[in-house]
C-alpha cells in the first residue's frame, strides 16, 4: 500500500508527499527530455517545469568547478512561475548566482563563501532583496542538507554522462557526492550539466538512477586554478616565517599529518621542505600526510620524498597528469584520474595534527577573520580545518605533546590539535593585521547576522607566526598573558608597540613567545635561494614535464 494511508489517532496522514511531488515534477519534466537527456535550448523550460515556488535549490559551485550553464538558465526563468526560492549552496561566485535575487526568483540564501561577488551580495542585502540565513562552513552546510535544509532541486556539474545518466566527475568530484546524496535520497530533482555525453563513462562516480536529467552544456563547465601560487612571487619575509614554522612547530611537535591553507605563506613552507627541512634531517619525520588540493608548489616536496600521501577536496588545473602518474601519493580511480571529495578531505584534515593558514585580522584574544567591512566573503574550509577536534581519540607524537602543553598535568589527560595562523604584521597598504576589535563586529551589525563572522576562534588557535616570531598560546596562563603573547609577535603595529616589554620577556623565558634566535633560525638563510623551485618553470622541471600550467602562469 506504499507510503500513504497510515492512521494515527484516527487522522489519516499521507507519508509520501515528497515522493508524489517528485513523480509529478518528473512527469512535467519528461515531456522535455529524451530518456534523461535534455537539449540545452530546452533547459529554461525544464527548470520552469520541475521547480516549484518556495523550493530549496542548490547549484553546485565551489572553489573550482561550477554548474555555470544551469546557473545561467535559472537566472532566465520566469519569476511569475519560479519564485521565493531558498538557495542553499556553498559558493556564490558567478553573476547568475545573484541575478536570481535581482530578478525576484530567489529570496533567501544559506551559503559558505562568496569571494568576487561579496560586494554585490552586501548591496543586495542592504536593498532587502536577499535574506542571509547564515554563513556556514562547508561541513556545516552539507550537514544541514541531511537535516533541515535538504534540497528539493540540485544542479551539479560533471565531465561526462552516458545515456542512462551515469556520471563521471573526473578529478574534480569535490562537493558532488554531498549534494547528490542529499537530493537523490529525499525525493529531490537532480540535474547534471556535463561536458560531453558518451556511450560509456570512464568510471561511474554517480549512478545513473540517482540522476533525474542530464544536459550537455554548450561549453565545458567553468573551472578556476585557485590553488596555483607562482614561486616567483614568494618574498624573503615569507621564507623567514616558513623557516620558523618548520623549526618552531613542525620539528618541535613532529607534525606528520596536516592541512595547509592556500596562499604564499604555506607555499613557502612547501618549497623549503626539500632544502631547509631536509638539511635538518626531517624527511620522513614531518609533513608525511596532507589534506590539501594538489597545489603545484607541493611537487618538489613530493618528488624529494617528503610528502607520502595526499587526499584532495578538488583538483587543480594543470595537475591532472602529474597526479595520475603519482597514484602512490594521491587517491585515484581505476581509470587513472584523481578522485577528490571535499567532505572526506575536510574530515581527514579535521582529525589530523595541524592546520596552518593565513587570515586578514587577528584580535587580542586570537580570534581571526577574513571578513572586512565592505564585503561578505565567508570562510570555506578554514573553520573546520582550523578548529580543535575535541572528539579525537587516536594518539600521535604531535597531538600528545600539544595536549601536555595545553593541560600541564591538570585533570584528565587530553591531546590537542595544533591550529596555526601565519601572518605578516602589516598587510598590503600598511594596514595592521593585529587589531583591538575585528571588523567582523560591524559586519554582524550591518548584515543582521546572529554572530560576528569569525573564521578561527581564539580558543581553537594554538600558535600565531609572524615575521617577528611565534606566540604559543598553549603556554599562556589567562587572558592577560595571551594578549601579551599576541602583542609580543605583532611587530611594529600599534598593537605590537603597546606591548608590556617585561611581561613579554617573561613569556619568552617560558617559551610562550619565541623569536628566530630562540628557534635556531639563522635569518641569513632567509633568501630565495632556499626555495626548491623559484618559478613555475622550475615546478614543471621538478615534475618531469607532467605538470602543465595554465597559460596565464606561463611566462617563458
Amino acid at each position: 500500500m506504499g507510503d500513504s494511508g497510515t492512521a494515527i489517532d484516527g487522522a489519516v496522514r499521507d507519508w509520501g508527499t515528497l515522493r508524489e511531488r517528485y513523480c509529478a515534477r518528473m512527469q512535467r519534466g519528461a515531456a522535455l527530455a529524451k530518456d534523461k537527456v535534455v537539449a540545452p535550448d530546452d533547459v529554461v523550460a525544464l527548470l520552469e517545469a520541475v521547480i516549484e515556488p518556495g523550493d530549496r535549490l542548490c547549484i553546485e559551485g565551489n572553489n573550482q568547478k561550477h554548474a555555470d550553464f544551469l546557473a545561467e538558465c535559472l537566472a532566465e526563468v520566469s519569476p511569475e512561475r519560479v519564485h521565493d526560492l531558498h538557495i542553499i549552496q556553498s559558493n556564490i561566485a558567478l553573476a547568475p548566482h545573484l541575478d536570481v535575487f535581482e530578478r525576484g526568483i530567489a529570496e533567501r540564501l544559506d551559503f559558505c563563501y562568496s569571494g568576487p561577488q561579496g560586494l554585490r551580495l552586501s548591496r543586495l542585502v542592504k536593498e532587502g532583496r536577499l535574506k542571509v540565513g547564515a554563513i556556514h562552513t562547508y561541513l556545516e552546510l552539507y550537514g544541514r542538507y541531511f537535516c533541515d535544509l535538504t534540497p528539493n532541486v540540485s544542479f551539479i556539474a560533471a565531465d561526462a554522462a552516458d545515456h542512462e545518466g551515469n556520471l563521471y566527475t573526473g578529478p574534480n568530484t569535490e562537493d558532488t557526492p554531498a549534494i547528490v546524496e542529499a537530493t537523490a535520497f529525499k525525493s529531490g530533482i537532480l540535474i547534471a550539466q556535463v561536458n560531453r555525453i558518451v556511450d560509456r563513462v570512464p568510471r561511474v562516480d554517480v549512478p545513473g538512477d540517482w540522476v533525474s536529467f542530464v544536459v550537455e552544456a554548450p561549453r565545458p563547465y567553468y573551472i578556476e586554478p585557485i590553488f596555483t601560487r607562482d614561486p616567483a612571487a614568494i618574498t624573503e619575509v615569507q621564507i623567514l616565517m616558513a623557516m620558523m614554522v618548520i623549526r618552531g612547530i613542525y620539528e618541535k611537535y613532529g607534525v606528520a599529518r596536516l592541512n595547509h591553507g592556500i596562499g604564499f605563506d604555506t607555499a613557502a613552507i612547501e618549497l623549503i621542505l626539500p632544502t631547509y627541512a631536509a638539511d635538518l634531517g626531517l624527511r620522513g619525520k614531518i609533513c608525511k600526510y596532507m589534506s590539501v588540493n594538489p597545489c603545484p608548489t607541493l611537487i618538489p616536496a613530493i618528488e624529494s620524498g617528503f610528502v607520502e600521501g595526499i587526499h584532495c577536496a578538488g583538483s587543480e588545473l594543470g595537475m591532472e597528469n602529474y597526479v595520475s602518474e603519482r597514484s602512490d601519493v594521491f587517491f585515484t580511480g581505476r581509470d587513472g584520474s584523481m578522485r577528490s571529495n571535499r567532505i572526506f578531505c575536510q574530515i581527514a584534515g579535521h582529525y589530523s595534527d595541524l592546520f596552518i593558514g593565513s587570515t586578514l585580522q587577528i584580535d587580542l584574544e586570537g580570534n581571526s577573520s577574513t571578513a572586512t567591512l565592505s564585503r561578505i566573503t565567508g570562510f570555506g574550509g578554514a573553520p573546520n580545518f582550523g578548529s580543535e577536534s575535541r572528539a579525537r581519540r587516536h594518539g600521535s607524537e604531535s597531538w600528545l605533546m600539544a595536549g601536555r602543553e595545553a593541560h600541564r598535568g591538570n585533570g584528565m589527560p587530553r591531546g590537542r590539535k595544533l591550529v596555526v595562523q601565519i601572518v605578516e604584521s602589516f598587510r598590503e597598504g600598511l594596514s595592521s593585521t593585529f587589531v583591538e576589535r575585528l571588523d567582523a563586529w560591524k559586519l554582524q551589525e550591518s548584515f543582521g547576522l546572529p554572530l560576528p563572522p569569525v573564521m578561527v576562534y581564539g580558543d581553537d588557535l594554538t600558535h600565531i607566526v609572524t615575521e617577528e616570531g611565534i606566540a604559543n598560546l598553549l603556554l599562556c596562563d589567562g587572558p592577560e598573558e595571551r594578549e601579551q603573547a599576541i602583542r609580543g609577535v605583532a611587530g611594529y603595529t600599534e598593537v605590537g608597540m603597546a606591548r608590556d616589554p617585561e611581561m613579554v620577556r617573561r613569556l619568552r623565558a617560558k617559551g610562550a613567545v619565541s623569536y628566530p634566535e630562540d628557534l635556531g633560525v639563522d635569518k641569513r638563510l632567509a633568501t630565495r635561494d632556499l626555495l626548491a623551485a623559484r618559478s613555475i618553470k622550475d615546478l614543471v622541471r621538478w615534475s618531469g614535464g607532467l605538470y602543465d600550467p595554465p597559460a596565464r602562469f606561463r611566462n617563458w
Binding site: E236, E468, K523, R524
Partner: protein, 104 residues
C-alpha cells in the same frame, strides 16, 4: 623622499668585520649598509626613505635593532624603497650577522 638621522647609546659588541651589506633598493625593499666606525661606543643611523611620515617607527625599529644585537661603534646607512618593518628588520639582522662574523 625623507632624510632621517638617529643616534643610539652604546651597546657591548664591537663588530668583527669592517662592513656588511644586505638587500637592494627597490619597491618594497631596501638596502642596508653597516660599517665599523669610531663613535665612542655609540651607533648612528641615517635613513633615506621614499615614504614620508614614519619617523617614529624608524626610530623604534632601529633602537630595537641596536639593543637586540648589542652593537657598538656601528654606522647604519639605509636606502629605503618603502619596505615594511618586517623587511627592514630582516635586512638589518642579516647584515648584523655578517658584521659580527657569526657562523652561519
Amino acid at each position: 623622499m625623507e632624510h632621517l638621522e638617529f643616534s643610539f647609546d652604546h651597546g657591548s659588541m664591537a663588530p668583527a668585520n669592517d662592513f656588511a651589506h644586505a638587500g637592494v633598493v627597490g619597491s618594497g625593499n631596501l638596502e642596508v649598509l653597516l660599517e665599523r666606525a669610531e663613535l665612542s661606543g655609540r651607533c648612528e643611523a641615517v635613513v633615506d626613505t621614499a615614504i614620508r611620515g614614519y619617523e617614529r617607527t624608524w626610530h623604534k625599529v632601529l633602537s630595537d635593532f641596536v639593543t637586540r644585537q648589542g652593537l657598538a661603534d656601528v654606522r647604519i646607512s639605509i636606502n629605503d624603497g618603502g619596505a615594511t618593518p618586517a623587511v627592514v628588520c630582516l635586512r638589518l639582522d642579516q647584515a648584523a650577522a655578517d658584521l659580527k662574523g657569526a657562523p652561519a
